[in-house]
Amino acid sequence: MSWVTFIWSVLIGGYFVIALPQLLIWIWQRRVPSLFFLLACGAIISVALSELLTMRAHSVEFVIEALRWEQLAFFVFTVALVGFILSYLGSGRIWLGLLVCAARTLCLVLNFTGQVNLHFQQITGLREMRFLGETISVPVGVISPRTHFSELTNGLLLVFVIDACLTIWRQGDRDGRRRALVIGGSIVAGMLIAQSISLLIHNQVLDSPYLSSLPFALIVLAMAFEVGYDLFVAAGTARKLQLSEASLRESEERFRIVADAAPVLIWMSGPDKLCTFFNKAWLEFTGRTLEQEMGHGYREGLHPNDLQRLDTYKAAFEARDPLIMQYRLRRNDGEYRWILDQGVPRYDAQGRFGGYIGSCVDVTELLKKEKALREFEERVVLAAEAAHFGVWEFDTITKRIWVSDKVRELFQFPLDCEISYAEFDQRVHPDDRATRDQALQKAIRAQGAYEIEYRILLPDGNVKWIGGRARCFLGEDGKPTRLLGVSMDITERKQAEELFQLATEASPSGVVLVDHQGRILLVNAHIEELFGFARDELIGKSFDVLVPERFAPSHFNHRANFFAAAETRAIGARRELFGRRKDGSEFRVEIGLNPIQTPRGLLVLANVVDISARLAAEERALRRREQVELLSRVSLLGEMTASLAHELNQPLAAIVNNASAAMQYLEQGKLDRERLQDILTDMAADGQRAHDIMREVRNAIKKGGAIRGRINLNDVVKAVTHLLQPNAAAQLCKVEMSLAPDLPAVEGDPIQIQQVLINLVQNAFDAMHDTSPSRRIVEIVTNYDGGSTICVGVRDHGSGILDTARERLFEHFFTTKEEGLGMGLAIVRSIVEAHGGNIAAEDADGGGALFRFRLPTQESMPQ
C-alpha cells in the first residue's frame, strides 16, 4: 500500500471538497472570510501537490523548482491566514498583519534571489528513503541561513494570531471565544508542528521529508469548521426566519381584523408606493372590492380635480415623512365626500422601510360646519359694521392682523392695503399705547378678555376716542392664538362725559355719582370741600364713607329701597341727615337724588347741600320771632292797662266794701250767720273774678306755647269788643259789629288772633283822637263768601292812612304814634301770615282807614 500517495491524494481531494461549497457561497454572497478560506485552500493544495511531487521526484532540478515555487504557496497561505483572521475574527492589529505579509514577501524575494530557495543554499542530490511504506526522494544539500527569515516570519504570524485571538477572548462573548479558540488554537498548533518538523529535519534528529501540508491541514480544517459552522447557524436562522415570517403573516392577519373593525378608513402601501391593503371601512365606503382598489385602483374613486393632490403622498413617500392630505373620494352612493388622510411610513422590526399606512376620516360635515362658522363670522362682522363697530382679528403667533373696513375707516387706513400690527399700534396715542398694550398682553396671558378706552392720533392730526373690547381665543393646541376684538368711535360720548364733568364741577352744590352698589363713580370739587376728602380718596369707595357710622345700616336700607323704586326725590327734608367729614366731624345735609339710566345700569346723581348754615339762620330767625312776640305781648299789656285796671279794680273794691260792711255789722252786733255767709260768698266770687283776670293777662304774655284750636272769629270779635269796652268808653268811642252768620271755623291760636283784633281796634280808637265824639265809631265786620277764606275788617273814621306811612305800615318799629313802640302792625302781620293768611290796609270810602285780614278756613288748611 502506497500510503504517501494515498494520504496526499486524499488530502488534496478533501481540500477540494471542503473548498467547493465555500466557493459557491463566495460567488453568491461575496463573503470576505470565504475568499480567504478559498485562498488558504488553494495554497494548501499547492503545498500538498508540491510535497507529493517532491517525494516522487527523480531529478534534482525538478525538486529545486518545486521547492522554489512552493514558497509562493506559503506566501499566499500566510496572506490568507492574516486576511481570514482580520475579516472573520474581526480582530488583530492591521499593522502587525501587514508586517507579517511584508516579512513573508521578503521571504519570497529571498527565495527567488538565492541560489536554490529560501531554505537551501544548494541541493547536492536526492536521497532515497522509506516513508510510510513507500520509497521517496528527499533533497540533500546545504541549509541556507535565510531559512531563519522564514522562522521569524512564522513567529510574527503567531504573535499576530495570538494577539487577535486574545482580543476576541477578552471580549467574553461565548461565540467569539469559540472562534478564537478554534482558529487561534489550530493555527498555533499547526504552525508549531510544521516548524518543529522543519527544525528536527534540519538538525538531523528526524529523518523525514518536509511535511507542511499535514499540520497545515489542521488549520484548514479548523477554518472549514468555522465557515461551515456559520453556514449551519445561517441555516438555523433561516429556519427561525421562516417561523417568524409565519408569525408575521399571522400578526398581519390580526392587523387586518383589527383594521377591518376600525371605524376609520385605513390603507397600506408597499415600498413601491402601490397600495396593498384597504380595510373593510374603506371598501364599504367606496363600495368597491379590494381587488379593484389595490395598486393604483383606488385612484378611480378620487375626484378628477383632486388627483393632483396625490403629489403630497409621492413627495412625503420619497422623504419618508408623515403626510396629511385632503381630497374628495366617491362614496358608494356616488357622492364625493371630503376625506382627511393622515399617513406615516412603517418599518418592520429590523427597521426596514415597508411602505406607508394611512387612516382617513370623512370631514365633509366638519367642513360644512366650518364653512357655516365662517359665514356666521362674516355675518357677525357685517352686523358689527352695521352697528358702527369695527372688527379686527390678531394672530398672536404670526403677529398678523386682519381688520374690517370699518376699522380702516376709524383708523383712517386705505381700504385695500395690508396692515401690519406695528402700523395699527402706531395710530394709538403715545400716552395710551402702554395701557392698551398691557391690556392686550394680559388678555393673551390670562386667555381672557379686556375692555379699554384709548385715544388714537389720526394722520390728519385729529384725536379720536376709541372704545375697544377683545377676547382671546385658543388654538387647536390649547394655546392662545388669536384675539378677536371690536372697536368703536366713542369720541362723542367722551365729549359728552367731559361736558357732564364740567357741568358737574360748575354745580353750586356737591355732586356725587353713585352706582347701584353704592360705589362712588364721580365727585365734584364741592364734595371735596364739604367732606375734606381728596377726589382720589373717594372714587371707587362706598358712599358710606360720607355717612356717619351710626347711620350706615339705615343708609344701606334706604339705598336699597331707592334703587327698588328709583325716582327723583329729596331726602333729609323730613329726617335729620348728617354728612361725615374726613376728620370725623358731622354736619347737617340735604340730599337730592336723581336716578339716571345709563348703559352701566342705574346710577344715582346725588346733590349734597350743606344746610347747617341755613339751619343756623332759621334758628336765629325763630329766636328773633319769639323775642318779637314777647315784646308784642308786653306792648299789648301796656295797651290793655286801662282796661285791666278797671277790670281788676271792681272786684277788689267790691271785696273791700264787703269786708268793711262785715266789720261794721260785727261792731253793731248785726252780723248774723246768714249775712256773714252772703258776704263771704260774694267776696269769694270777686276774688275768683280778680284771679281769672290775672290769669288771662298771664296767658296773654306767656312766652311761646302757641295753642292751636278751632276758632270762631265772630266769638273773637265779641270777646275783644267786650274786652276793649273800657278803652272805648275812655276814648268816647263806640264799637259796632256786623257779623256774618254761619261762619266756618279757622284753626289757630285764639289768643294770638284776639291779639290781632285788639291791636287793630285799639289802633282804630287811637286814630280817632281828632274826630268829633259823635263820629267816633269803629266798625268790625266779618265776611264769608263761601270760599276758602274768611275776611275780618276793622274800619275807623279817623284821618286815614298817611301816604308816607302806607308802605312801611307793617314794618317793625314803625309808628306814627308818639307813645307807640311800632310793634303793633308788624306783629299783627306776622301772626296773620303764620296762620296762612294776609293783611292789607286802605283808605275807606267816606274817610278813615280800613284794615282787612283774611284767614283760611279750617277745611282748606293743609293737614
Binding site: 271792681q650 272786684p651 273794691a653 267790691a654 271785696i655 273791700v656 266794701n657 264787703n658 268793711s660 260792711a661 262785715a662 261794721q664 255789722y665 253793731q668 248785726k670 258776704i679 260774694d682 266770687a685 270777686d686 273774678r689
Partner: protein, 52 residues
C-alpha cells in the same frame, strides 16, 4: 256828720260793686237804692225833697 236814715242812690253797672256798696251803706245805717245805669235812675219816680 252823716245823718242816719238819709237816702243814698247807688248807680253802677257792675253788679257785685252795687251789691257790696249797698251792703256797706246799710252797715253804716243809710237807706239805699241801687240802679244799673243812669237812665234807670232817671226813670225812677221822683223823690220828694231831692234836689237834682
Amino acid at each position: 256828720m252823716i245823718t242816719p236814715n238819709a237816702m243814698v242812690f247807688v248807680i253802677d253797672d257792675d253788679e257785685s260793686m252795687r251789691k257790696s256798696l249797698e251792703r256797706l251803706l246799710d252797715a253804716a245805717q243809710y237807706k239805699t237804692e241801687v240802679f244799673k245805669s243812669a237812665s234807670e235812675f232817671l226813670s225812677r219816680p221822683a223823690i220828694p225833697g231831692l234836689r237834682a
